[in-house]
Symmetry: C2
Subunit: 342 residues, 2 copies
Amino acid sequence: MVTIKDIAKVAGVSPSTVSRVVSNHPRISKETSQKVKRIMEEMGYHPNVMAKSLVSKTTQTLAIVLPRPAEELFQDFFFGELLRGILAQSTRAGYDMLLTAATSPHDESETVSRLVFGRRVDGIILLSSRVNDPLIDMLDKHKFPTVLIGRTEDHPNILSVDNNNEQAAYDATMHLIVQGHERIGFVSGPPTLTVAQDRMQGYQRALRETGLPFRSEWVVEGEFLQQSGYRAMSFLMGLPERPSGLVVIDDVVGFGVLRGLTELGYKVPDDLSLVSFNNIALSELAQPPISSIDIGTYQLGYTASQILIRLIQEENAHQTRMIIPHRLIVRESSIHTVAKRS
Amino acid sequence: MVTIKDIAKVAGVSPSTVSRVVSNHPRISKETSQKVKRIMEEMGYHPNVMAKSLVSKTTQTLAIVLPRPAEELFQDFFFGELLRGILAQSTRAGYDMLLTAATSPHDESETVSRLVFGRRVDGIILLSSRVNDPLIDMLDKHKFPTVLIGRTEDHPNILSVDNNNEQAAYDATMHLIVQGHERIGFVSGPPTLTVAQDRMQGYQRALRETGLPFRSEWVVEGEFLQQSGYRAMSFLMGLPERPSGLVVIDDVVGFGVLRGLTELGYKVPDDLSLVSFNNIALSELAQPPISSIDIGTYQLGYTASQILIRLIQEENAHQTRMIIPHRLIVRESSIHTVAKRS
DNA sequence: CTGAAAGCGCTTACAG
DNA sequence: CTGAAAGCGCTTACAG
């Protein structure tokens, strides 16, 4: 391992000077700087990251904390896209990313404590947004730089990046209404998640504003899993009065819905129209392709990383809540093709 | 920040003693240990990770290096599953994971150099396996603990975890042959990837052993993208003599194949049977569900992390190459259901 | 069983 | 523009 001292010795200068050259200190002569840089190159010098961060009290590292049952998240296919956004921005800003998946709740706070109090990372990106999350409580209390992808009511000071999920669900529902549907159902996710609550609100508002009926039996709650969508269908399609349009919380669930309908012998969109959320890459490959609300997954990650780094570097948040725009991608699942219509 | 000195002062012992208590040094009296531990608890002491690793010259951290065009990999839906395996094992062993995505080739070696020579991590997990990879050359030359998920001929000393892709492709092909197919095609990926080469070998061996014809026009190379599969179909189905069975390099490509066939008006498996690789979660949700070779993605990641950590801790590799078993999951895309047959 | 001292590799006022 | 010195928070022979 070649250190700053080794370079100093060879270059005939002091370690302080080498350090200044490395950090591009302004008051270093051109010659000295060039000579030292040449020697660093020749000797293959690389600064010891640990030593540097010990004195600078900064690690140039952020941690991504995955929700506890990581399985669920990894099933969410937009996770890769989210990660891609986070990585793109943090790499650009010169930050490394630490990935953490806790197994148990106790484990989770244990792990995060270690990272936070052990000064292992400069900031934390939370991907979960459970209500009354003790983790957020802790981070907030210690004023540790944190950004939440999602929404929290309880902690107005915590940075967050989210979609306007209420509006997104409103848009999805309105799209079905514009297509002429009057009986619209909602296949939701875990009701404790804010995202599910928000989308439920938007769905209901669209019905209310257009004077269409809201029927509690047309709302099915479940998980972010295809099985949920699958099961929802055997229930919904068994009702005496069935919806003709469906808003679905997630594309993967949408896949399950599609499979359920196919097995029951129904055709999409002829018997039932479908709009879901997240616009994962495979949505357009479904049979038929699924209409989906694109939530700007990449931008969600990119922005989260960006505002967290800004907070770390400037110590004051310009804006604690960022909203990423969404847009509806219309595909065959919610619109009759001209050919089929005629 | 409460340090070891603060604890020492309050406990009335030396910093050395506190340090020994933290690391459970055997020759420390029960009383001292208990008192110090109590005070640490009270004062909320957390060891500074950076200081520790500066002196111990170990970081308890591994880096995952994503292949250059991260987009491609993230499209591969089994990436999440792989990561899950890696994280499960490394968390268990007390290692943190650093995630790195380089943008350019120059960037990549720059980033990895920084991590390796800056003593930022103790080991590296490579997810790419390009031929003649300068990164592997570099890591091998410096004997830096590295594990490759995939295969390399050039570096027999580098740890690697892989499937027997030749055999897997052989099995997939034989499955189609057993179903009675005599004209079998292969939709492959980028021919420079070892995985594509290996699977091609297995495909050919199955044909050879059963005396079936190999036709170069029945082999289409492409990317790990659904578009590749889609395009392959317009070509293959336009041939005067078409295959009746198809081995497809990846499930996502398989989705594209399915879409292409549907648009062209063909039915799977009646007009064409299909087997692909990786068994991503959505394979069973395709219409029809896709038969796929499960490559044990989770185990691939888990094992990679495991043997790397063993190498780091024991300094000698028991076995440089590990093979994860695969198995064929038969679904509707390659087998006529009884109902349909009758 | 415990402490004083040196050191890991770097940075940064302070002095010149 | 440059150097000597102190220090970041920890560990670990060495001595007792």
